[in-house]
């Protein structure tokens, strides 16, 4: 066995109302990739945050290369040689890429801690180049797409040259091409003798990357084993406590009449000439590489951004959508890719978030009827098996995946005829994913029309009845389910318009 890098002994952590971790012990060797999997809310992120010094109050002991660490601050962890890609992206929006990457470790003169601006720029450029990222170090974080921000986070974690690099769902927001680049970085880190702790809900990544895998469930460690000694089914069984088969359900109904038609929709500088139609009972997949403009198209459709060209028809009537309120009135529902910004009100309870768009369903005039509201929300919590102590828990204290389910629940409560899902399973565990797929299919079979934007090709192929592929803001290809394949989608996504 190679040198022992990291040792966790009996780590426990309690939050008000929940035991997030209960006596987790783990050993990780140097020069390996150790995957950590588990359902949403299993405690993966909490364990990593403790390791990173973000939660100074915990029980247990952490040893790095045999030395005991008293994890009191992030600074200590960073100095000790641990860095982390956070699940909820943590960046300063108004700062540039370079400033964010070197935040807290700016190259500077001793005198007055004067920052060497040129150095900063040059080093960022080198780093981004090394990571194979084509990004201007001077751009501001707030102007980047979610995927680009994720890439910057990755570059930042790498830039510390740490002995232990934690990656908490690093691929949840990026597409296949970027993920490939990340994987080769992981390989480089591994061969340099450092260790990677890798959290993911995409189990194929475990087998592609990891040497060992640990399964957590409800704060307990279920098992740690070598990757060769296990397989997907076994892992899933350990995670969710049961077998899981056929995660993509089959269509049982034929599509109904057309409900939505989009003609030559365009927004200056972002996308143009977007035309498609949608029938009841249909799932339309929108694929494309990162920053292809998929999110922008669906945001315009939902009235979050203005469009300046084109026409939209719903139920054969031309409509104008100027605000989300218009869209909701017309029977649209939307689940955004960015739950923290467009999805949730963090300081409100789970219940209040779920009912926010549909208070009219539980109100008498302007007065909310508490029992009606509780009933509606609890129904949603049960339907989507959202893991929460009760409906009164603040939504910001839910695990990432469960927050995603709240956003979905909110949109579903409006009983929309057309449901737009932007990366609906981002950060959701396999068990819950299959629930959501079942739900999507059930909704479609019940006559709803669904638009699903996704970077997960498996999901696109498994769920869509028809697929459109975007490239640089235009449609570069259309595929029916029967003819679709990974290769075809990728070819269109890269910009080729001919077969």
């Amino acid at each position: 066995m190679p040198e022992r890098m990291l040792e966790l002994r009996g780590i426990s952590k309690r939050f008000p109302g929940v035991m997030a971790l209960d006596g987790v012990s783990l050993e990780v060797a140097a020069g390996t990739v150790h995957a950590i999997v588990g359902e949403n809310g299993a405690g993966k992120s909490t364990l990593m945050k403790i390791l990173m010094g973000l939660y100074p109050q915990y029980q247990g002991e952490i040893r790095l290369q045999g030395r005991k660490m008293d994890h009191q601050s992030v600074k200590q962890a960073l100095n000790g040689g641990i860095s982390m890609i956070h699940q909820e992206l943590t960046y300063v929006p108004h700062m540039t890429v370079a400033e964010n990457i070197f935040l807290g470790k700016e190259p500077c003169y001793k005198l007055l801690k004067w920052i060497k601006g040129r150095d900063l720029h040059a080093r960022t450029e080198a780093l981004l180049h090394q990571a194979g990222m084509d990004l201007d170090p001077g751009r501001r974080m707030r102007d980047l797409s979610v995927a680009e921000r994720q890439m910057v986070e990755i570059a930042k974690a790498i830039s510390y040259d740490s002995r232990v690099i934690i990656m908490d769902e690093p691929t949840s927001a990026i597409s296949e091409r970027e993920a490939q680049r990340l994987f080769s970085m992981v390989a480089d880190i591994k061969s340099s003798g450092s260790t990677v702790l890798y959290i993911t809900h995409k189990l194929d990544e475990v087998f592609r990357l990891a040497d060992e895998v640990t399964v957590l469930r409800d704060g307990h460690l279920v098992e740690t084993c070598k990757v060769e000694e296990t397989d997907t089914e076994q892992l899933v069984a350990m995670m969710v406590g049961r077998q899981l088969k056929d995660i993509f359900p089959k269509r049982t109904q034929d599509p109904g009449p057309e409900i939505l038609a989009v003609k030559n929709l365009g927004r200056k500088g972002v996308f143009r000439d977007i035309s498609f139609s949608l029938r009841r009972g249909e799932v339309l997949g929108i694929a494309g590489l990162m920053a292809a403009g998929r999110t922008e198209v669906v945001r315009c459709l939902f009235g979050l951004d203005p469009y300046d060209q084109g026409r939209i028809f719903i139920r054969n009537r031309e409509v104008t959508i100027k605000s989300p309120a218009d869209a909701i009135r017309l029977g649209l529902g939307f689940v955004s890719e960015d739950r923290a910004i467009t999805g949730l009100i963090p300081c409100l309870s789970v219940r209040k978030n779920i009912t926010l768009s549909n208070l009219n369903r539980c109100a008498w005039g302007p007065v909310i009827v508490p029992n009606r509201e509780r009933q509606l929300a609890d129904q949603t919590i049960a339907d989507l098996s959202i893991k929460t102590t009760n409906g009164d828990q603040r939504v910001s204290t839910l695990s990432g995946g469960n927050q995603q389910k709240v956003v979905l629940g909110k949109a579903l409560l409006g009983q929309p005829d057309i449901l737009i899902l932007d990366e609906p399973t981002r950060g959701i565990d396999v068990g819950a994913k299959s629930e959501i797929y079942k739900l999507i299919r059930a909704l479609a079979d019940a006559g709803k029309a669904i638009i699903m934007v996704s970077s997960d090709l498996g999901e696109i192929l498994g769920m869509s009845d028809r697929i459109i592929v975007l490239h640089k803001g235009t449609i570069s290809g259309r595929l029916r389910q029967e003819e679709a394949s990974q290769e075809k989608i990728m070819k269109y996504a890269l910009g080729s318009t001919r077969q």
């Binding site: 008000p16 989300p324 467009t342 009100i345 219940r351 909310i368």
Partner: protein
């Protein structure tokens, strides 16, 4: 009580923390001054806080949306002067000055809200501008002099008793229950919290953010108009220089009461408790005849101390 209530356990503890602080302050004062815990003095304190508490409840709406209103004190002055101008004996029935005062406040609030939402001016600047505009307006209308000689019925609002209880206290109670209900049990209240909690997400949920914001400012300034009427009536004069820096006391009550200036978190119950704490401190220091220079030091320390006690409790 915990079950079925939409406050988490930590929230409850936090609220109790403030109550504990309040009780400690009361206990200390009543040990030092026998006059403190008497019915007349309690009524006295309640009457004295009524104006600040009404203003504070109003600005709670605005702060919950993530805004702020610095024009409150000036609104008290201009609405007081306006109402007084229409309250001279043998001119108009009582309802006229009341309507003019309150609707004057509401109009100012709508103006504030429009400047903030349509022209995207930071609430701090928009209402700071309104602070000097309304003050100037009050001085112009009154010519810089107190507007006195008002009808008895007008003076009854701030000075009279009903069922043995001073009217301002009853008005405050009404405003409190009304606002408690609005914020807790109506869609408007929910939207106010949502807008303050995450504006972008509120918009994406189909909420008319602009309308919600403007409504919050309108309610806030309307209540300031009510406070202006009570104040003018209580001192039987419309004073153009009334209400200077009232906004700070009102905002202090809100923040002491646990409402976050970032918006989205808080309650009017906390606000009233905050106003009570400030009122009791003022009253106690006067009762104990603490020399006025030291009063200020002690008052500042107690307020900070009360909030610390609150936060410590809450974070346990």
């Amino acid at each position: 009580m915990i079950q079925g209530n939409d406050h988490s356990f930590a929230d409850l503890l936090q609220k109790y923390g403030l109550i504990v602080a309040f009780l400690i302050i009361c206990a200390v004062i009543s040990l030092l001054s026998p006059a403190f815990l008497t019915v007349p003095n309690i009524v006295n304190v309640l009457r004295q806080i009524s104006i600040n508490a009404i203003l504070a409840i109003g600005v709670t709406y605005v702060i919950l949306t993530g805004g702020i209103d610095l024009s409150l004190g000036s609104i008290v002055a201009i609405t007081g002067v306006l109402a007084a101008t229409f309250a001279h004996p043998n001119t108009h029935p009582l309802i006229v000055p009341l309507l003019i005062g309150i609707s004057g406040g509401i109009l100012i609030g709508i103006f504030n809200g429009m400047v903030i939402t349509r022209f995207k001016v930071a609430p701090f600047i928009a209402t700071l501008g309104m602070m000097t505009i309304a003050r100037g307006g009050a001085l112009i209308i009154s010519g810089g002099r107190p507007v006195s000689n008002l009808t008895d019925s007008f003076n009854f609002i701030g000075g009279g008793d009903l069922f043995g209880c001073p009217l301002p206290i009853l008005i405050l109670a009404g405003v409190f229950f009304f606002s408690y209900f609005i914020l807790k049990n109506t869609t408007l209240g929910r939207y106010i919290y949502a807008v303050g909690g995450n504006e972008e997400a509120a918009r994406a949920s189909g909420i008319n953010v602009t309308k919600t914001r403007i409504t919050a400012y309108a309610i806030c300034s309307g209540l300031a108009g009510l406070a202006g009427i009570i104040q003018a009536s209580r001192i039987t004069t419309g004073q153009p220089n009334a209400g200077i820096s009232y906004e700070l006391d009102a905002i202090a009550a809100v923040v002491i009461g646990g409402t976050s200036l970032a918006g989205g978190i808080g309650s009017v119950a906390g606000t009233v408790l905050g106003a009570l704490i400030i009122g009791v401190i003022n009253n106690g220091l006067d009762l104990l005849n603490v020399p006025s220079y030291y009063q200020q030091v002690v008052k500042g320390l107690i307020i900070i101390g009360a909030v610390i006690l609150d936060r410590e409790q809450g974070s346990k």
